[in-house]
């Protein structure tokens, strides 16, 4: 029961990420990306880092997703909202297979944290997961229609993602899992504040200056120049 929730969350997050890549409509992709960020923040809550989870929601979903949506809507303004079609079929099937593969890898990851001795299941899954990844690769590589064969190279991206994910799994199991993060020491904002101020205080000030200057730079780049204004008249 304990590992059902992280597994469901893993599947949800993977599916959201896939939807944001595969949707034909940019707006649906942006909404799926926001859903992905929500899933990520729920992972932070599970890892006993509620402060980070809350700020992931506030910053990524509340500000960054809004900016992405805004940009997509304004630039695609000439396109009527109802005319776009939703998702690419092959990408979706391949993506679902990938979600399945990552769910398998996630089960292996979780069992290594929880020191569950499901030896037979473990050994089966260790062989099933790579097979699923290979099937995904083949589907994505072969499945694109002739006119869009340049999309086949996404299959290599999927392979790379699965390899990275697998290596993370191996490293984490070797290091004894994420037990250090879960639940033994309750989260305390005071300790976090002390830690940040004492060790990273100066870096925090530098970061603030960097961010604010970046905002000014972005605004200065985005505004009209005098010549453009003359053109518009």
């Amino acid at each position: 029961m304990d590992y059902i929730i992280p597994l469901v969350l893993l599947t949800y997050t993977s599916i959201m990420a896939l939807l944001s890549l595969e949707s034909r409509s940019l707006v649906y992709g942006a909404i799926s990306l926001a859903g992905f960020f929500i899933g990520l923040s729920l992972f932070f809550f599970l890892l006993n880092l509620p402060y980070l989870g809350v700020f992931q929601l506030l910053v990524y979903v509340g500000a960054i997703s809004v900016l992405i949506l805004f940009a997509v809507m304004v630039i695609g303004e000439h396109q009527k909202a109802g005319e776009v079609r939703r998702f690419r079929a092959f990408g979706l099937v391949g993506g679902l297979l990938l979600a399945l593969a990552m769910a398998f890898a996630g089960i292996i990851l979780l069992m290594s944290f929880l020191d569950v001795s499901f030896a037979p299941l473990y050994s089966v899954l260790v062989y099933v997961a790579p097979v699923v990844v290979l099937i995904t690769f083949v589907v994505l590589f072969v499945g694109e229609p002739k006119g869009r064969s340049h999309y086949r190279y996404r299959a290599f991206g999927v392979l790379g993602a699965a390899l990275i994910f697998g290596s993370f799994t191996g490293v984490f199991s070797y290091l004894g899992g994420l037990n250090a993060f879960s639940g033994e020491v309750p989260f305390d904002v005071g300790r976090l504040a002390d830690f940040v101020m004492n060790n990273y205080g100066f870096l925090m000030v530098v970061l603030g200056l960097l961010l604010a200057s970046a905002a000014y730079g972005a605004v200065a780049l985005a505004k009209k120049e005098k010549e453009e204004e003359e053109e518009e008249r």
Binding site: I31, P50, S65, V66, L69, V189
Partner: protein, 372 residues
Amino acid sequence: MASSTRRDFFKALLAGVAIALLIGVALDVVLLYRPLLDVLSYLFTNPSLILIHPLFMVLIFPGLGFVGIVAVLAIWGERKFAAKVQNRVGPLYAGALPGGILQPIADLLKLLFKEIIIPKDSDRLVFVMAPVAAFLMGAAPVALVPYSPSYVIFDFPLSLLLFFVFTGFFPMVLLLAGWSSNNKFSFIGGLRALYQQASYEIPMFLSALSAVMLAKSFSLMDIAKAQTGVWFIVLAPISAVVFFTAVLAELEKFPFEIPEAESEIVAGWMTEYSGMTYGLYWFGIYVKLVAFSGLFAVLFLGGWNGPLIPAPWWMIIKVGVVATLIISTRAFFPRIRIDQLISAGWTKLIPLALFNILILVALQPWLVRLLS
């Protein structure tokens, strides 16, 4: 071709809503099976225990029932108050109760039976689902506000920040609502609502930071408990004013009513919405009003603390007072232009909030002695 796909969409939507409701009811049964049995057993053995059972809290106070009643009273109160100030009568004839109090119920019944019109070439799924999302984002924060040491639905150590998370989701929903209507005016109205609410979130967070500094905790329960001696509005009055102004902007009440201004861009982002989609937006906004009134009462007005009367009643009184203050602005203020509105948020409110924070920081030694 187009009309047959639209008809299919409607049937698909009906099926989807029905299935979702059935799954929801099934989940309710699964989750509430044992608590319901507990409550029923209390009914026969010790009825007063029901009053502090979580199921009571979710369904009646401070959950669904209380929120519904306060929202209805707020809708009626806004129209009646504005009418009286403007030397009119306001709602009068609806139903048996005097004063037209049932008028919002009559409006709800009317909206329930209106046709659902989905504009041509709009993004149908987003168009239909946006009001539900707006309603949820307005209703979820109600569970975080504590009405007494035992009356809170969800007591989370970072509940203030979680409240702000739901506040931060709202502009995204408005943006989607404006865009999905496929109407230039709606889209521009949605953008304006986005600019307004985004600009006033930072003053809101900064003024809430004053209350957090005084209480040394992000939990709304702890902030309310820290005000047993003196209310925070006495210690941080500037922040209270800034927070109240930011709340007015978030709720799109006067003088910040540009996104819904009738004489400017029809109804802004709500232009294409009719029937129950429109009704859900309004109900969501008034539920958000209840949530924010509760938040203001907890942050600055001392929460449930007060002499003589038991705790939840003080909170109800304070929520009522704050909600009345918020809705009375309709009668007193003109509408501010959008560029004045946004620049006021950035140039005037943020320095005021920062000023109050600096005062609190400077006075920290005395405050620690005062509050311990």
